[in-house]
Symmetry: C2
Subunit: 280 residues, 2 copies
Amino acid sequence: VSPATAVPSAVRGAILAVGGGEDKLGDRVVLKHFVELAGGRDARIVVVPTASRVQDCGAQYEDLFQRLEAGSVRALPVQTRADAARPELLDTLADATGIFMTGGSQLRLGSTLGGTPLARTLRRAHAGGAIVAGTSAGAAFLSEHMIATGDNGAVSRSRGVTLAPGLGLTNRVVIDQHFSQRDRLGRLLAALAYNPFAVGIGVDEDTAAVIGADDVLHVVGSGGVTVVDPGHVNFTSVGRAGRNDPVCVLGLRLHLLVRGTTFNLETREASAGELVALHA
Amino acid sequence: VSPATAVPSAVRGAILAVGGGEDKLGDRVVLKHFVELAGGRDARIVVVPTASRVQDCGAQYEDLFQRLEAGSVRALPVQTRADAARPELLDTLADATGIFMTGGSQLRLGSTLGGTPLARTLRRAHAGGAIVAGTSAGAAFLSEHMIATGDNGAVSRSRGVTLAPGLGLTNRVVIDQHFSQRDRLGRLLAALAYNPFAVGIGVDEDTAAVIGADDVLHVVGSGGVTVVDPGHVNFTSVGRAGRNDPVCVLGLRLHLLVRGTTFNLETREASAGELVALHA
């Protein structure tokens, strides 16, 4: 799996990695932002509730997006690999301007959708310009390498995290969610230490890391996004440490982003952006 | 308060910041290291149990260090500011080769010892070569700026930490303890963001950050030491963020050190040191 090749002349859609727990009753900043990016009253939104075991999870998000006056909304009833090959569902997905994957279990998501026509259609829609969002497990699944399971807590243990292939909309990042709320820095660092080529993105609840086609990440919502850049790591003990030993990683760069600040995944530069202007 | 001026020709003693919960029954690696640095069978160890409300805390450490065959051990019964001016206690302290401050409350420690003859004598002993160790609250108190109280958890909130003057043996670091066990990265980052001149040192339980007279930090014990270097921070929102807003900090450097690795507080370079040699 590698990022889908963009259709010539199409601009790849933005990716919204939501940390879970997005506000659904108040200002709904994160959900509103998704609807707006998808086209607002012209949006054709498709909800993929596959990660969830909650029967009406898809219907709940249909209702939420309708209240936010999205043009059209449809939740796809995809619970099995057979569902993920049903032509009428694929047609709906291919026509979407915004795709939203709910929370639940990223292993359920990966094992149900991986390698199916639906996953291919989703990747193609994204390459053609559709916005793709995921919350909680849905966020973890967006990237090429996803955190499948891991220990919570700040200690980085050498076997404290398990990676699995994700949907592959980008391979530049490894995404973790409920980040501050579940103290997941330790497992994100362990995941990066395995192979320090990707940037670690830890998204707080009620917060989205929005990655544009230009590979600039910005923040929407009430929390923060922790960016861990291992590009300058000059030593890690992860290949040598015993099981459950604390991991040694030297030379990480760390940025705590909030609304208004950005991180360029290409140049790996953080910028205070609007935040300086707002307070100048 | 600034670091005590070294007596001419004397080499300042090492500082051992212990993250609390050091092993007292098994290998006792951290406590043994302290006894050895203090001179082993020639050591004259003084225990300062002021942080603790436990009646026999001093006696317990006397017993621990005697079992480790330290030359002599004495716990000073200092519970009040009046105690901290008793000449016979000051004489004992001035003659120590190793001084150990127990855990408890760093505010109790600071408010009892701050500005007393005992604090001055302790600083002078350190400048003259005595090793000074502190565990838990005792570790927090070692540096010029100490974390007095703060929220646990990974989120860095703009008012999530309160600093207070510490003992002042070094002003190069801000020390936090029980670091991974209580998920204190958030409050350490908030503390650094106030004024990013010092290096943040988060010490895990059963682990010591040992800072030598050469300002090289190394690690002893079973856990890790998290080093946060804000020397390249180019933006922080801490002066502008509202109470309890997440803090933005851009440009931090982060190193997870374990036994065998070092961090030079002068050059701010992390080194895999022995760890490379051990596995070469």
